[in-house]
Amino acid sequence: MTEQNFTEDLIGRGNRDGAQLFRDWYKELSEVAERGDKAAYVFVMGSFNEIIKTFDMPVVFPEINSLQTAVRGVAKEYLGEAEDYGYSPDVCGYVKADVALQLRKGEHPMGRIPEPSMAVLTNACNTYLKWGEVWERMYDAPTFALDIPGSRSGLQAIGRKSVSFKNDRNYIEVQIEELITTCEEVSGKKFDIDKLREVLGYTNRMSTAWKRVIELNMASPSLFNALTDGTIYLGVANGFRGTEIGAEYFEALVEEMEYKAKNSIGTLTDEKYRLAFVGVPCYPIFRRFTELFTEWGGTFVNSTYLWFASGGANKGFQYDLENPIASLAEGTLYSVTDAMDSMFHQDRMLLDIIDDFGIDGIVYHPIKSCRTVSTGLADGRRSLSEQRDIPSLFIESDMMDSRVVSEAQLKNRADAFFEGLATRRQMAQS
């Protein structure tokens, strides 16, 4: 392979392969549904994909199904159907799109989604619990609410050696044992602890690589856009967690990013402003939303979304394969708590990355659908601005509902933000 061919193959490989993996995943789910088989439903924050994969059960991420309806421009129909069924316009769009999907017997723009054989809910988002109740009413399938206590105050305020940490970890460990029993009943298979070790090993490799990918974006110019490219990576990080394919994908992604860093190949040809994104993407106008920033030479070098929507995998926690269940409990507590912190204490976590990532400005994007992420953003922004002189933009819309997405208003606000950034830079230089 020539150097040119090597470069052409490598650059953008993560996006190409990620998209292909996604298509393969949905094709497989469609086949599962066509056979009349079922799949385990899980969520991105605390998916316990490691346990599900140990039992070889196909896995469905309803959040990803829902956001895909928005990206593919059909969310409005799904939301309308759920509202006709009785759901308020003020309820989470992800939930409503899924309700409609279930009413449509799994019909989805990327294929057909199987019915749930079981569901694993966590409390990382309270709506997960309410969402699970929807399935409880629709299907005769067990739901397992795996409770993960988060930080009581501050960031990870509970030290690993504290009594509280041990109390939390023990609680999670008991629940994991109970989840395993549920999986045995649903799958008809006996639990194989060596299989769990193997699966955890893949997650260890993936987490190490995911942490590295994010760190590599400290490079200037930045190597990937955390909002667009990052969402593709997140899809793989969730759907293929605990699999060999997932581990290999992320190790290949590290290779791509290291090459780009070494050769100063940026995601933009002319990067002017390095931004952090806080919140959930605006999926109804996903590409256009990003262009509002890239047109000005702005790129998102990091985002809280990369942290919490990977369930805290960005922390790179390494499971102890000698003690797989206890270590899974500890790793879950550590990672999912971090995911929750990156929503509720986002101000403190942003302070930690501003210098390392050379961030020029922060874009806050609270949305109607997600109170978990959005409720504290205005106050977090206020608090951060008191501690650090950094420009920020606060724009509201939604991740699903195009009725509350005004592209013109968003553009006006983004334009004014960049004009301010330019003025600030000029003043600093003069």
Binding site: S88, D90, V95, N126, L146, D379
Partner: protein, 388 residues
């Protein structure tokens, strides 16, 4: 230790006592809390729905249920985005505007908005602020042990703030005080259910609510005095529909709304301030007291849209409540922008349809001040049922 914070009421007529309670409920300045502090007392504010108030009480603190207030969130608005319920904003507002001064604040993850309150209070105030993680998997065999451990952690935090060591003796006494309180509230609800013409909906509500902001010994004294007087009234039963009001588990409807509903029908059961009535039986006053508190939360408790318990599907629980109250219909309500409440409305209405039970769907906000349309719609609904 208990300081009296109510105005002199013992020699007053029943109507004056009830008026005092209504006034206190609607007063956004929380005068009873101010009096408590003027006497040197410390205050632990806890957000809806349930909090083990016995722990604060045993440390000599006043547990104050943060239930919002009928105020404009002028200062708080800048700290929140759109699409949020009112109680989140006004609970912060009353502390920012110093109507209420706290020594500690505890929220719990009842919903996605409420769990954010812990960090928000932490960023805005010097006093200790945190989240109490009540178990969201009460079906796990590990939940009681976990919760007892969590209560132990909370107990230590409260001791630090209050400067008072919580002894077993003090906690036992507090559990006794709260057991009596819950028993008296059950009596009040028996009265509402069996003879709703003897207590108006807004008076019953006020009598419960006032307990959330005064020492519980004083509340017990008040209820012990008022309940016999209510029973002794000679009012006659009217030809009204008996309804259950569902949707008041967190943000509270304004008293005027309760009055409007109560004018059209008898509210014979409800979930107003359900956290104060969460525990359904006496908690043992001996043995491992923290485990007893934990066990009561998990095993002897009511239901709400914000607790996930496979043993308590909410729509089944509502149907049980309707049956136990011998209700003819249900007001299925939710606070505006309250996601759990709005989601539960769907399950409730589908279940009521399945049983052919009539219901009236509405939304409310604690700051609403126009009730004409609601009253008209509700009266039409009731007339349709009465003359069907």
């Amino acid at each position: 230790m208990s300081k009296a914070v109510l105005d002199k009421w013992k020699d007053s007529d029943l109507s004056d006592v009830l008026l005092m309670c209504r006034d206190l409920v609607e007063d956004p300045e929380f005068p009873t809390v101010k009096r408590w502090r003027e006497e040197g007392g410390k205050v632990l504010g806890h957000f809806q729905v349930y909090f083990p108030e016995e722990l604060a009480h045993a440390a000599g603190m006043l547990p104050l249920k943060m239930r919002g207030a009928s105020v404009e969130p002028i200062l708080a608005d800048a700290r929140f985005g759109s699409y949020l319920c009112s109680i989140i904003k006004t609970s912060l507002e009353v502390v920012l505007n110093k109507s209420v001064q706290l020594d500690m604040f505890v929220t719990n993850p009842i919903c996605d908005a409420a769990r954010n309150l812990g960090p928000i209070f932490e960023r805005n105030f010097e006093f200790k602020s945190q989240i109490l993680y009540l178990p969201q998997n009460p079906n796990s065999s590990g939940s009681a042990t976990y919760l007892a451990g969590e209560y132990d952690r909370l107990k230590q935090e409260i001791e630090e703030v209050s400067g008072v060591k919580i002894t077993d003796e003090a906690l036992k006494n507090s559990i006794g005080v709260f057991n009596e309180n819950r028993a008296l509230l059950r009596e009040l609800y028996d009265l509402k259910r069996d003879t709703p013409w003897l207590v108006s909906a807004e008076d019953a509500y006020s009598l419960v609510c006032v307990g959330s902001m005064i020492p519980r010994e004083e509340h017990n004294e008040l209820l012990r005095d008022v309940l016999p007087k209510l029973r002794a009234q000679t009012a006659k039963e009217q030809d009204r529909m008996r309804v259950v009001f569902e949707g008041g588990f967190c943000e509270q409807p304004p008293l005027d709304l309760i009055r409007v509903v109560g004018r059209s029908c008898y509210i014979v059961d409800d979930d107003f301030l359900i956290g104060l009535r969460w525990i359904l039986e006496d908690i043992p006053e001996d043995g491992d007291l923290l485990m007893a508190l934990a066990d009561a939360y998990l095993e002897k408790s009511s239901y709400s849209p914000v607790q996930h318990d496979l043993r308590k599907p909410k729509e089944d629980m509502l149907l049980k409540r309707v049956k136990a109250a011998r209700a003819d219909a249900v007001v299925v309500s939710a606070a505006k922008m309250c996601e759990p409440g709005l989601e539960e409305q769907v399950a409730y209405t589908h279940a009521l349809d399945g049983k052919s039970l009539p219901y009236f769907v509405t939304e409310f906000e604690e700051n609403m001040n126009s009730f004409d349309n609601l009253e008209l719609q509700l009266e039409t609904f009731m007339e349709n049922l009465l003359f069907a």
